[in-house]
């Protein structure tokens, strides 16, 4: 009986090993299963989903206008102080002083891409862009001003 058990063990072991080898042999011969993406070469055909959280940007339309009112809701919502809103006082055509945004300072090096600022904005001024190549040689380039120079707020947003 011992001999029978011994031989069965040996055959069972060899069979399990051959089954595993067959699977890797299959992958060795079928090259169309390879799913590697050749990254720097495929930048044109790469399309990231629209919800991908790459960095925060403020979209401007063709008249260089944005939708930000300077309400600082994004600054309050951000967990680690990535956004700083600097406001100034504009003089409206009626002669009254109105608060407007001077600069929206965004520290890309601190951002955790948690999306809380985008969700908190009441006027949909900021969205997440799909860029992911953020490395720079100079750290100062990572502090971005989100609103273009000389741009002003669109009509009718408040």
């Amino acid at each position: 009986m011992f001999i029978v058990k011994y031989i069965k063990e040996v055959f069972g072991a060899v069979k399990s090993l051959l089954v595993g080898m067959k699977r890797t042999g299959y992958y060795f011969t079928h090259h169309k299963e390879i799913i590697t993406e050749q990254y720097p070469d495929n930048r044109e055909t790469l399309n990231l989903p629209e919800r991908f959280k790459g960095e925060v940007v403020m979209p401007h339309d063709e008249n260089n206008e944005h939708r930000c009112t300077g309400c600082t809701a994004c600054e309050l919502a951000c967990p680690n102080g990535t956004i700083k809103v600097i406001t100034k006082f504009d003089i409206t055509p009626e002669g009254k002083k109105k608060k407007a945004i001077d600069k929206l300072v965004y520290h890309l090096e601190l951002c955790t891409m948690c999306n809380l600022c985008v969700v908190a904005c009441p006027s949909d001024a900021i969205v997440m862009a799909q860029t992911f190549e953020h490395s720079v040689f100079d750290r100062a380039e990572l502090t971005k001003i989100l609103n273009n120079p000389g741009s002003k707020i669109m009509e009718g947003i408040e």
């Binding site: 040996v10 080898m21 699977r23 992958y27 060795f28 799913i35």
Partner: protein
């Protein structure tokens, strides 16, 4: 059709005409030495490249594919990197042994090249105890591993070297028994005679089931001898961070690395010689027409093809199976491979006496 034996024959003739006999001999030895070293270098490059590509395709990814067309020049880049690395000797290391160990590994590999028949009439040393010579010299490789582990003054290296020493010494027995099976069938230790005896069919076909069992045992034992996975706990990366060659860097590490790959080549070529017929083309009994067609393919191509097939098999093992623990490894040898090997040898002896092979 030109053949390698013809080239060496004409070189020898030219040397003997031009120089005195002593000088001719010395020049021949120098030429052979240079040829062996360059064969090492080329083999190292080719085998490393092959390993990386084979492993990549099995793991559903591309291998190196940036350096050179299809990544074929990757080995040159690797060699360049290893050459310019700083070779440090650790603080409390035994300097003499530490520096000697990689060289010993390479010397053993070079010595083993001597009796291998690469093509018809193309051997470095046509010794009539070729098989015994190979068995004996391969036992010396243990010393280099133990030296490396001890001289590194590092607990991990020592543990890796101890494990490896036990493993190699045990598996030599099984490999020896498998080799003996063929020796019993052919009745000679001479490599050339063994190959010539396979002119009507390779032993793996002629001696049927017992020789196939011997072949399987041989492949397993030889994978363990060269410290390849699944028996590579001497250099187990996830447990002991490179084991006995942890402390080596630069050229000395390159020598260990090279020695391992050349050892794989050598044992596969021994296996190809004994079981698959060496440089003998595939002949089937008395089918003259078929044999004649097979003879057109040069014998060096046959030899290299068989050896690389066995190398591919050993690489296939590495990338499919996990590692065995040291006690399971020794268990496998002493309780399974050795009894089966001995029983098999008995069967083959009976088979040889009664003539039950083809």
């Amino acid at each position: 059709m030109w053949s390698l034996a013809g080239i060496t024959g004409s070189i020898q003739q030219w040397l003997q005409e031009t120089f005195s006999p002593t000088w001719a001999l010395i020049l021949q030895m120098v030429l052979v030495g240079v040829a062996v070293i360059s064969l090492f270098a080329v083999l190292g490059l080719v085998l490393v490249m092959m390993e990386r590509k084979v492993s990549a395709w099995m793991q559903i990814r591309l291998g190196p594919n940036r350096v050179g067309p299809k990544g074929m020049l990757q080995s040159f880049a690797d060699t360049l990197k290893l050459l310019v690395k700083e070779g440090m000797t650790p603080g409390g290391a035994d300097k003499f042994l530490f520096n000697l160990a990689p060289f010993l590994a390479i010397i053993v590999a070079m010595l083993l090249m001597a009796p291998i028949a690469f093509a018809r009439d193309f051997q470095i040393w046509n010794i009539n105890i070729g098989v015994l010579y190979v068995s004996a010299i391969s036992s010396i490789s243990v010393i280099s591993i133990l030296m490396a582990g001890w001289a590194s003054n590092n607990k991990y290296s020592l543990m890796g070297a101890m494990r490896s020493g036990a493993q190699i010494v045990s598996y030599e027995l099984s490999a020896g028994l498998a080799i003996l099976s063929i020796v019993v069938l052919t009745g000679t230790l001479d490599m050339n005679e063994i190959i010539l005896s396979q002119s009507d069919g390779w032993w793996i076909f002629k001696g049927h089931i017992p020789v196939i069992i011997a072949f399987v045992i041989f492949i397993i034992a030889v994978t363990a001898e060269t410290n390849r996975a699944p028996f590579d706990l001497a250099e187990a990366e996830s447990e002991l961070t490179a084991g006995f060659h942890t402390e080596y860097s630069g050229m000395k590490f390159a020598l260990f690395f090279l020695a391992e790959y050349v050892n794989v080549f050598i044992v596969c070529s021994i296996g190809a010689t004994l079981f698959l017929g060496g440089w003998m083309p595939l002949h089937i009994g008395n089918w003259q027409g078929f044999n004649h067609v097979m003879d057109y393919i040069p014998s060096s191509v046959w030899f290299m093809g068989k050896t690389f097939f066995l190398i591919f098999l050993i690489m296939w093992f590495r990338w499919t199976f996990p590692r065995l623990r040291i006690d399971q490894l020794l268990n496998l040898e002493w309780k399974y491979l050795l009894p089966i090997g001995m029983f098999n040898l008995l069967l083959i002896t009976v088979m040889a006496i009664l003539g039950w092979h083809f």
